[in-house]
């Protein structure tokens, strides 16, 4: 398991691994928004929580198809399926590696981008906390989508269509927590819902993903 995590992290930071791609996309997206809606601080501050969360969602989506597609192409997935690791564990580890490479940098750099979007001061801790609670769910749900579409040529688009609706609850509660933080209301309830969604998804999705992988490997 640890070897698999190390391998995935090492592959991500080597040439062509795509590390930082999601972060760069997030940065571009958040820079483009002020150009699109105009520079008035009031408007930006009101939409900032939603933009930041949608941006995080889309950046996460960018690298999802790599979770299993590359391993499927070079045959590693067949070999992993016959290895002593349980396939559920393989899925969980690969989702964790995806989160460490994609989700964690988003969590860390989101406050900087919040500055670009005039996010009100009190919202910053809630932005970081909500992203930290919510992005693991994005990676695990994404791994499920990747497991369902593995082996399909150009499965990336289908993957986005499958996964984005599953992201809706996380988006709603994540953005709501930040919005409440911004206006000084109590963000506790949406944060609890966010955490509950993440926990449920963490507990269930590895099994669903492993089942989907087994079907696709046949």
């Amino acid at each position: 398991m640890k070897a698999l995590l190390w391998r995935d992290l090492r592959l991500a930071v080597r040439a062509g691994g795509g590390f930082g791609l999601a972060l760069a996309f997030f940065l571009i997206l958040c820079t483009l928004v002020p150009f699109g809606v105009g520079p008035e601080g009031g408007t930006l501050a009101r939409i900032a929580p939603g933009i930041l969360w949608v941006g995080a969602l889309l950046s996460c989506l960018l690298s999802l198809d790599r979770i299993f597609a590359l391993d499927h192409e070079d045959g590693s997935l067949d070999l992993l399926a016959t290895a002593p690791l349980p396939l559920e564990g393989v899925v969980a580890i690969k989702a964790l590696a995806h989160w460490l490479v994609t989700g964690l940098p988003l969590v860390i750099f989101a406050p900087v981008l919040g500055l670009l979007l005039h996010l009100p001061g009190p919202a910053y801790p809630w932005l970081v906390l909500s992203l930290a609670l919510g992005t693991p769910a994005l990676s695990v749900l994404g791994a499920f989508g990747a497991a369902v579409t593995v082996g399909l040529r150009r499965g990336g688009l289908l993957l986005s269509l499958l996964v984005l609706p599953l992201y809706v609850p996380t988006l709603i509660f994540g953005a709501e927590a930040v919005r409440r933080g911004a206006i000084g209301a109590d963000p506790g309830t949406p944060l609890l819902f966010l955490a509950a969604i993440t926990l449920a998804v963490l507990a269930l999705m590895p099994f669903a993903s492993a089942a989907a992988l087994r079907v696709n490997l046949r």
Binding site: K2, A3, R7, D74, S76, D78, L79, A81, A83, L217
Partner: protein
């Protein structure tokens, strides 16, 4: 006491029965060479033995933790070096040392080279060296000698013989002579599934949608 036994096995690919009524058993030290024309079902049979797909009928009797599968693809990561690739599989399969495996396939000098710089034959040798670090008893090999030169085929045959000598077993689908006189030959052609028999024994759920 057999490492791997197959009883009345039938395998299918995409709902189409390929090989059926297959019976054999492998004892420690034995190798079985599968022969047959392209498309007969050798790969499907090996994938079924490896547990990657389910048999349509019959059973495969073995401990899944004794099987090591090597398919057409080598499972190499181009960005990792030869030693890193092999080290990963060694760690996954319980940490056997990679040095002897590299030496067995004459890869020691290439250990630090990234896998994307290897030739097709060198990649294959690395893929085969992986078998040595799995520490598993039954090797399921799908055309292991593709893109190997004569010297490397010799290296591989020596590694295989060493494995059999230590009480291992192997099922090998190949079209060439590996120089293993002790291996049993199994021509799959007589086991080709008869189209007429499909009706009374459906190949599986998928056939309903075929």
């Amino acid at each position: 006491m057999s490492l791997l036994a197959v009883r009345d096995l039938a395998v299918a690919r995409g709902g189409l029965r390929l090989v059926e009524a297959l019976d054999f058993a492998l004892a420690p030290g034995q190798a079985l060479v599968l022969r047959g024309p392209n498309g007969l079902g050798k790969t499907t049979l090996l994938r079924t033995l490896a547990g990657l797909q389910r048999p349509v009928a019959g059973e495969v009797i073995c401990d899944p933790d004794t099987l090591a599968y090597a398919g057409h693809a080598d499972g190499l990561k181009p960005a990792l070096s030869v030693a890193e690739n092999l080290g990963f599989w060694s760690a996954v399969f319980g940490g056997a040392p990679v040095g002897p495996a590299l030496a067995a396939m004459n890869l020691t000098e290439l250990a630090a080279r990234p896998a994307h710089m290897l030739s097709a034959g060198q990649k294959r040798r690395l893929g085969l060296a992986r078998l040595a670090v799995t520490g598993r008893a039954v090797w399921l090999l799908d055309e292991p000698t593709v893109s190997l030169d004569a010297a490397s085929v010799g290296l591989f045959a020596a590694m295989l013989r060493g494995h059999l000598g230590q009480g291992g077993a192997a099922v090998i689908a190949t079209h060439i002579d590996l120089g293993l006189p002790e291996a049993r030959l199994l021509d799959l052609t007589p086991y080709r599934a008869m189209p007429g028999r499909q009706a009374d024994r459906p190949a599986g759920f998928n056939e309903a949608f075929a």
